[in-house]
């Protein structure tokens, strides 16, 4: 009897320790993602200062570097090399405005890749794990939220179409019970794609405006547009190859050939939506 009780006690203790460890791992993962998002927002704030403190930025990047390396492996990107290199060049005052785009927009790309990865991991998960993953997605989203707010301001007079849409999709994702999570996950992906399509358009609109007067500024805008497009490229390529060809051709062409009306049309075709729609 005593032996049985002892065995039962050991089993219960073991199960307790195992489940606590499982929760601990989830908590740690969430904390890491929150730290990533916070660091991303800090880097964005620091780099926009008059005299950026590149040492501090490097310190903040170190918080993100683990996830960046992880995503490089999964997303076939090279940010783990490119971003430190860009920070180094910026601290040496080499084409600061262009190089810092690799840092800022690269981190956004990493965040989106992570969100996509987390959505992917929902497939085989149970309802509780899915809810936890949705919380993690929400944490990563905080890092890219400022972009959504800016594009709402630029294209929809500050009415938070994009931000609100993403928040609604996240809320639905947390509540999803069965395979209906696909709907909210697709909606979230759709809003992310649309926001970054608007980012591409915004930068190219600036190129169109500045090409007669300020070529260096156009270089910066183009660098931003290229990384933003990298974020939505897989979707555009799958939806309409011709749209993808048109967009890449325009990103590679001379500034005089930039035509944002054609670009908008290509982005609409590439994402199968109207990116400038009020809804």
């Amino acid at each position: 009897m005593k032996t049985r009780l002892l065995v039962m006690a050991i089993i219960f203790i073991g199960l307790g320790v195992w489940s606590c460890q499982k929760d601990d791992a989830a908590t740690k993962r969430l904390a890491d993602l929150q730290a990533f998002a916070q660091a991303e927002v800090s880097i964005e704030r620091l780099r926009k200062m008059d005299n950026p403190d590149w040492t501090e930025i490097k310190a903040q990047y170190d918080i993100c570097s683990g996830l960046v390396r992880d995503m490089d492996g999964k997303g076939h990107t090279d940010y783990a090399e490119d971003i430190p290199e860009a920070i180094k060049r910026c601290s040496n005052n080499e084409r600061v405005k262009v190089n810092q785009q690799t840092l800022a927009k690269g981190l956004q790309h990493v965040a989106v890749l992570k969100i996509r990865g987390l959505i992917g991991s929902m497939a085989g998960a149970d309802a509780k794990t899915r809810a936890n993953i949705a919380v993690e997605i929400g944490a990563v989203f905080e890092g890219i939220r400022p972009t959504f707010i800016r594009r709402d301001k630029d294209f929809f007079e500050g009415k938070s179409h994009l931000e609100k849409g993403a928040d609604q999709a996240l809320a639905e994702l947390k509540k999803a019970r069965g395979s209906d999570y696909i709907t909210s996950a697709s909606r979230l992906e759709g809003i992310i794609n649309r926001t970054y399509a608007l980012c591409v358009l915004y930068e190219m609109l600036s190129v169109e405006k500045l090409r007669e007067t300020d070529i260096p500024a156009c270089d910066v805008k183009l660098a931003e547009a290229v990384i933003f497009y990298r974020i939505i490229e897989p979707r555009v390529k799958k939806t309409d190859r011709n749209a993808h060809k048109d967009i890449t051709a325009m990103l590679e062409a001379e500034y005089s050939s930039v035509n944002t009306k054609l670009l908008t049309d290509s982005l609409n075709r590439g994402l199968s939506i109207t990116i400038l729609s009020e809804r």
């Binding site: 996509r116 959505i119 992917g120 929902m122 497939a123 085989g124 639905e172 509540k175 999803a176 019970r177 069965g178 395979s179 209906d180 696909i182 709907t183 909210s184 996950a185 697709s186 909606r187 992906e189 759709g190 799958k238 939806t239 309409d240 190859r241 011709n242 060809k245 048109d246 051709a249 325009m250 590679e252 062409a253 005089s256 050939s257 930039v258 035509n259 009306k261 054609l262 199968s272 939506i273 729609s277 009020e278 809804r279």
Partner: protein, 693 residues
């Protein structure tokens, strides 16, 4: 002082009647809302599935553990369209099937069955010219099918297996989103009775693609006559005796396809999937043969799923595990014939440079390549981008003369036919008009001064070239543009068109157009007048025009009722307050305010249960607040008015207390009905159809 107790008695009775009347109102309001709500939220939904789908309709089926009458709510994704509802035709059942039609082509719809918490989506079949993707599953996809649905966004899934309906369903979780097929047809538990014989050939048409599923060459005949699809593929289900190139070349199937491709070069068979032990691609006589291992019969190798990207000019198969890409249909503009750089330039808007590049390409590659598409591209750029019609005509003619069998020749002929109709005045009016219509007008955003300037420019063309063939088209275009902001000018333009060019086809329907313009501008009186004129001019369309007249009359009637409904509460409030004794009873106002708050909360809750019936939360709030106000504040004024009427007209109110209460109730009914009508009419008049108004 003597009459005081009597007044209190009257008041008590009146208050009682008031209380019972209110209770009756609330009960009625509740009943109304719950009747509209229709169903409760506890209904189960088991195995929802897209059973059938095409360009404009979808059939959704599901099961439930208890019988009920199913309904589906749906709206176009991200377009802010109103939520619509479709209901089952049959009575209560545990097996549900709803058919929805009138959907837009190639559009994603969000839908839910009962509970709003569980939403799904589907996409209608795209238009023929639009690109799309579908997925071929070569292995058990149950572990990854959800992710494949999200990452690849296929329009449908084809399981490369036969008779797998009895096996484990690896696509269960995606069935509410996309249709699933296997080699024998639509793979659905709901269509088991309709399943085809396994040896029967069949055809799957999707967008501009046609897939033919056969066992032997003989099965092809019934599906290959008069082809219309831009991409045709054949999926052979029966394994061949040998897998060598020679065996394929000698097969009856290959002979039949070659014969077809000779006869229909513009609609040729681009690829053939044949079952085989390994995945191998062979190109024989410009037909791509792909050996595909049937699920459970061969080795899929590394590849478990293939995405097929279908486009008008090219089709690719992408092995999702290895990212390897196989071309199933050659893109004519890339692989054999044309200049990538020229296309790149055109894609970026550098049209003149692009034309120059095409000319050089033709010059350098004459005799080496088929360059019909280069001819066509130059003509197309000159025609639709640069509006240099004279030169465009030359290039179209060159194409027709040099490449009479090219698939682009019919298109060139079509454009030539259009341009030649308006070739007078050396293409000048056509060129100026196309520049305005396709470029200048589209570039204007919301600046009405700019818009007017551009429209004036078009007007100038009509003044300058009154006899040009394009002028009636310009009048018609002008009228259509004015419709959105200046109906009077639109009418003038339509009438000018009709007066100056009475025989032009556009002139026939001008009164109908004018009627529509007034209708859109909500000027229904004028619209009815114009529609009546249209009836005289177009007796063949009398039925449709009468429908519009009926709608305009209904809307006119609604606007009159709106005025009456506005007058009634204003009159009752004013007379209730200003008839002697002048004033308002504050106690009743407090009671009304309290009942408004309670009623609003109840109405909001009830409306929330049927929130999908409203197009926005704002609309929901407006209607519920209006209804709550109508039912609560109406009592104050109607009973004040009835008391005062009684006091003014009756010598002895004691004898007429029942009459007072009855009058108050009637007045209150009128007040509530008026305010409710006002609220609905000014929020979303579409809801008035519920009340047959």
């Amino acid at each position: 002082m003597i009459g005081r107790p009597r007044i209190d008695m009257d008041m008590n009775l009146s208050t009682k009647v008031c209380f019972y009347s209110k209770a009756l109102y609330y009960a009625l309001a509740f009943m109304l809302l719950f009747v509209i709500a229709g169903c409760d939220s506890t209904k189960t939904v088991i195995n929802p599935e897209i059973v059938l789908i095409d360009a404009s309709s979808v059939t959704i089926a599901w099961l439930s553990d208890k019988p009920y009458k199913g309904q589906v709510f749906y709206h176009a994704a991200g377009k802010g369209d109103m939520i619509q509802k479709a209901m089952e035709d049959f009575s209560h059942s545990c097996r549900h099937e709803i058919h929805i039609d009138g959907l837009k082509t190639g559009t994603q719809y969000i839908y839910w069955i009962g509970s709003k918490e569980t939403k799904y989506f589907f996409r209608t079949e795209p238009a023929d010219v639009k690109p799309f993707s579908f997925l071929i599953g070569l292995d058990d996809l149950s572990g990854c099918i959800n992710n494949l649905l999200m990452s690849e966004m296929p329009e449908f899934v084809l399981l490369y297996s036969s008779g797998s309906g009895t096996k484990k369903d690896c696509c269960r979780s995606i069935r509410p989103y996309v249709p699933v097929y296997d080699l024998d047809g639509r793979l659905s538990g709901y269509l088991k009775g309709e399943k085809k014989d396994q040896d029967e050939s069949w055809r799957l048409d999707w967008g501009g693609m046609c897939l033919i599923f056969v066992d032997k060459a003989a099965g092809l005949d019934r599906y290959m006559e008069k082809p219309t699809a831009h991409t045709t593929g054949i999926i052979v289900r029966e394994a061949p005796k040998a897998y060598t190139e020679q065996a394929i070349r000698d097969s009856a199937l290959h002979a039949r396809i070659t014969e077809h491709n000779k006869k229909w070069p513009a609609n040729n068979v681009a690829f053939v999937f044949i079952p085989g032990p390994d995945m191998i691609k062979r190109q024989i006589d410009a037909i791509n043969y792909i050996q595909m291992p049937i699920k459970g019969q061969g080795k899929a190798g590394k590849t478990a799923a293939i995405r097929i990207d279908v486009n008008v000019e090219s089709t690719y198969a992408v092995m999702l595990d290895t990212d390897e890409e196989i071309t199933l249909k050659m893109p004519p503009l890339k692989e054999k014939r044309t200049c990538v750089e020229c296309r790149r330039l055109a894609g970026t808007g550098a049209y003149k440079k692009s034309v120059q590049a095409y000319r050089e390409f033709i010059k350098n590659n004459q005799g080496h390549f088929q360059i019909d598409d280069a001819y066509y591209s130059i003509a197309d750029i000159l025609d639709t981008k640069l509006f240099m019609f004279k030169e465009a005509v030359e290039w179209y003619n060159k194409l027709i003369k040099s490449y009479p069998n090219s698939s682009l020749t019919p298109l060139a002929r079509q454009r030539l036919q259009y341009i030649s109709k308006y070739a007078d005045h050396d293409y000048e009016p056509l060129s100026r008009f196309e520049q305005i219509r396709r470029v200048e007008y589209l570039q204007i955003k919301d600046n009405s001064a700019d818009k007017q300037r551009v429209l004036d420019k078009a007007q100038e063309i009509t003044a300058q070239y009154g006899d040009a063939a394009i002028t009636p088209v310009i009048y018609y275009w002008l009228a259509n543009q004015y419709r959105s902001h200046d109906v009077q000018k639109a009418k003038e333009a339509y009438l000018k068109l009709s007066a100056r060019y009475p025989d032009h086809p556009y002139s026939l329907g001008v009164w109908w157009e004018i009627g529509e313009a007034y209708y859109d501008a909500r000027d229904y009186k004028e619209a009815i007048g114009a529609f009546n004129e249209a009836l005289k001019a177009m007796p063949d369309s009398a039925e449709d025009i009468r429908v519009q007249i009926k709608r305009a009359k209904r809307n006119l009637r609604r606007s009159y009722i709106n005025l009456v409904c506005l007058f009634i509460p204003v009159f009752m409030i004013l007379s209730g307050v200003f008839l002697p004794p002048v004033g308002i009873e504050l106690n009743r106002m407090y009671q009304a305010l309290l009942s408004f708050i309670v009623l609003l909360s109840v109405f909001l809750f009830a409306s929330w249960l049927i929130a999908e019936q409203f197009s926005s939360m704002k609309e929901l709030f407006k209607i519920t607040a209006g209804a709550a106000a109508a039912f609560s504040f109406g009592f104050v004024f109607s009973y004040m008015l009835s008391d005062k009427i009684l006091k003014i007209s009756m010598a002895d109110p004691e004898k007429n207390k029942m009459f007072s209460a009855f009058l108050g109730l009637v007045l209150n009914l009128i007040f509530a009905a008026s305010v409710s009508y006002l609220t609905i009419y000014n929020t979303n008049e579409h809801f008035l159809t519920i009340f047959y108004l």
